[in-house]
């Protein structure tokens, strides 16, 4: 499913979600993120950030309201179609444990292509393996020695770089990063972030970066506070 290039990256209206048997977690009247924009979404833990990402990624279905991602309304899609849309258009980086421990570095990076032919097709030159190596090098993991190691032997910072390369592979329209730097120290954090941002810029991906740590906000085009856009008060 190819996304419409002229539409905003994310467009949410009257979004309401409650976990089963729980009070409302998300009540967002409006959220717009433009294409290519790099947005910092801040919010304390427990404020519903992960739930919002689940809604935007089409993993969770809102009780009411609509989510349009890259111009596609997720609501009418079947579960499998949403899975496919997510695989084609969104790259995720999580806080920790991003990698499959039984695969090597390159195999982890190439994993999305198994589920998304669209991402494989977007790779320039058509050679996934050399593109994966290029991304790893661009994000600071160039040495062959590192690529040979089991991912469980990499440091947390190195694992996050592998996860970033995986999210970027095949140029998905949106990169969603959920506290990817919280396990890193300050210098490593800035270094990781600037590499991630420059790679996003060069392939034209929208970056939605979620964190409770506001000290990084100045690096972004725009900073949103979840407590401002979400009408649910914790």
């Amino acid at each position: 499913m190819q996304a419409d290039l002229d539409k905003p990256a994310i467009e949410a209206r009257d979004l309401r979600y409650a976990w089963p048997d729980k009070p409302l977690t998300i009540d967002i009247p409006q959220l717009d993120i433009a294409r290519g924009e790099r947005v910092f979404l801040k919010g304390p833990s427990g404020s519903g950030k992960s739930t919002l990402l689940g809604l935007l990624g089409g993993v969770l279905t809102p009780q009411s309201g609509s989510v349009r991602v890259l111009g596609t309304d997720l609501a009418p899609l079947s579960g499998a179609a949403r899975d496919r849309f997510r695989g084609d258009n969104i790259g995720f980086i999580f806080q920790m444990f991003n990698l499959l421990p039984y695969l090597g570095v390159l195999e982890n990076v190439l994993l999305p292509l198994q589920f998304s032919a669209a991402r494989a097709a977007r790779i320039a030159g058509g050679d996934p393996s050399s593109e994966a190596r290029r991304l790893l090098a661009a994000i600071g993991l160039g040495s062959d020695d590192l690529l040979q190691r089991p991912v469980t032997e990499l440091s947390i910072g190195q694992q996050q770089r592998v996860a970033a390369a995986r999210a970027l592979l095949g140029s998905p329209g949106i990169i969603v990063a959920d506290e990817p730097t919280s396990a890193l120290d300050h210098d490593a954090r800035e270094n990781f972030l600037s590499l991630l941002m420059s790679e996003c810029r060069s392939q034209g991906s929208t970056l939605l970066f979620v964190s409770h740590d506001t000290s990084l906000g100045y690096l972004f085009d725009r900073t949103l506070s979840l407590s401002d856009i979400n009408q649910v008060r914790s």
Partner: protein
């Protein structure tokens, strides 16, 4: 990197659990296959107890009864066959040869059978195998005995040893024919049939030891006949217990059977060994069906072990599933992944089980043949074996659907974040 190799890598990451699961399946499969092989071998061994014999003739009773006492040396005849009738049938032009059988005595729990050289010449078992002598030869002297392999082994007998035959078939008999001891003239090689547990003597010897017996008791002193005196007497028996018949032409078997069953002078019965054997197998075959059912349940237990192992692993693999889901894995991918995993475990288990079975069979073969006379031909897998093995793998795949469904439910409720 396709789903198969993904499942394979994931399993390798959990190899100790996976190996244990595979071992459990392998052992259960080996048990099932082993039981099946033994069952086939036992059935064949059973059917192979006697071959080459076209008819067995005895006094009219049940066909199983006649088969049991004439071939398996179990039970007793209700009546005898007169020597005249035997001679009449033996001389019939369609009859090629006969083997007379005279039963009723024993030696330390082993049945004694009176017969003649025709027995060693014509009796066949296991297709076309004939009796072989480990040492010695068929009886030459009146008081010669030829013993089966089990008799020799259990009682430690060797060529030339003297033995005394007891009257009757009880394990402990007080009435012994100790005035006419026998000498072991030959020991037969193991056959895996009741021959191994039989003491053979000549028909004349049976007559000789009973010369001075009247209605089950020995004559008073004075009326007794010594061993040497017996040699001088006419030792043609008045009757025998049963006899086996080989026909000149197989097509005459049914005609002869009908003629014997309709014989007017004496109430006789002729049975076809193959027919009677399969009827008997239907009776005793129940036991090995029970064994087969037990083995099937062991396989079920092995598969349930696999199911448990996969289900247990799911909880610690919620993150793995969430990662795959975030990368766009659809329900069918998660499903395929877990069912493939079950398929790999089951196939590896089945393959290891087959290897284990053949390994054990090859190792145990000489022992089984020597000790029990069971000729196990490992051969290839039969179509039936293949069917059983495929059924096991299919069952495993069906079982794999349950954890697969559970795993997908997890990924739905977990969303993309797992609080581990």
């Amino acid at each position: 990197m396709n789903t198969l190799s993904l499942a394979w890598r994931s399993l390798r990451n959990r190899r100790s659990t996976a190996l244990l699961t595979i071992s459990a399946i392998a052992i259960s499969v080996a048990l099932l296959l082993g039981v099946e092989k033994m069952r086939t071998a036992a059935r064949e061994g059973f059917a192979n107890t006697v071959s080459g014999v076209d008819l067995i003739v005895g006094a009219r009773s049940g066909q199983l009864n006649l088969l049991l006492y004439s071939v398996f040396r179990v039970g007793d005849a209700t009546a005898n066959v007169s020597w005249d009738s035997y001679q009449k049938i033996a001389r019939h032009p369609d009859v090629a040869w006969t083997i007379p059988i005279s039963l009723g005595d024993s030696h330390r729990g082993f049945r004694v059978m009176g017969t003649n050289d025709s027995y060693f010449e014509h009796y066949r078992y296991a297709g076309d195998r004939r009796m072989n002598f480990t040492v010695g030869e068929p009886f030459d002297d009146l008081y010669d005995a030829v013993i089966g392999a089990d008799v020799a082994r259990q009682l430690g007998y060797q060529l030339g040893d003297p033995i005394v035959i007891a009257h009757g078939v009880g394990n402990v008999s007080f009435a012994k024919h100790d005035d006419k001891p026998f000498r072991i003239a030959g020991i037969l090689a193991k056959t895996g049939t009741p021959i191994d547990r039989t003491v053979h003597v000549s028909l004349e010897a049976i007559t000789a030891i009973h010369l001075d017996w009247q209605s089950g008791a020995r004559a008073l002193p004075g009326a007794q006949v010594s061993a040497d005196e017996a040699r001088g007497q006419d030792l043609t028996p008045e009757s025998i217990t049963a006899f086996m018949v080989g026909m000149e032409s197989k097509v005459m078997t049914f005609t002869m059977q009908r003629a014997i069953n309709d014989y007017r002078q004496e109430a006789l019965m002729a049975i076809i060994p193959g027919v009677a054997l399969s009827q008997l197998w239907n009776l005793v075959g129940i036991a090995d069906t029970a064994l087969m059912i037990v083995a099937a349940f062991v396989v079920l237990a092995g598969l349930l072990g696999m199911l448990t192992a996969i289900l247990t692993s799911l909880n610690e693999r919620r993150r793995e599933m969430a990662i795959l889901r975030s990368l766009g894995a659809r329900p069918k991918h998660i499903f395929t992944l877990l069912i493939t995993e079950a398929g790999i475990l089951a196939s590896a288990g089945v393959a290891a089980g087959v290897a284990l079975t053949y390994g054990l069979l090859l190792a145990a073969q000489p022992l089984l043949e020597r000790r029990f006379g069971i000729f196990l031909q490992p051969g290839g897998l039969t179509g039936y074996d293949a069917l059983i093995l495929s059924a096991i793998i299919v069952a495993a795949l069906l079982m794999g659907a349950y954890p697969a469904w559970r795993a997908y439910r997890h990924t739905l409720s977990d969303g993309l974040t797992i609080r581990v």
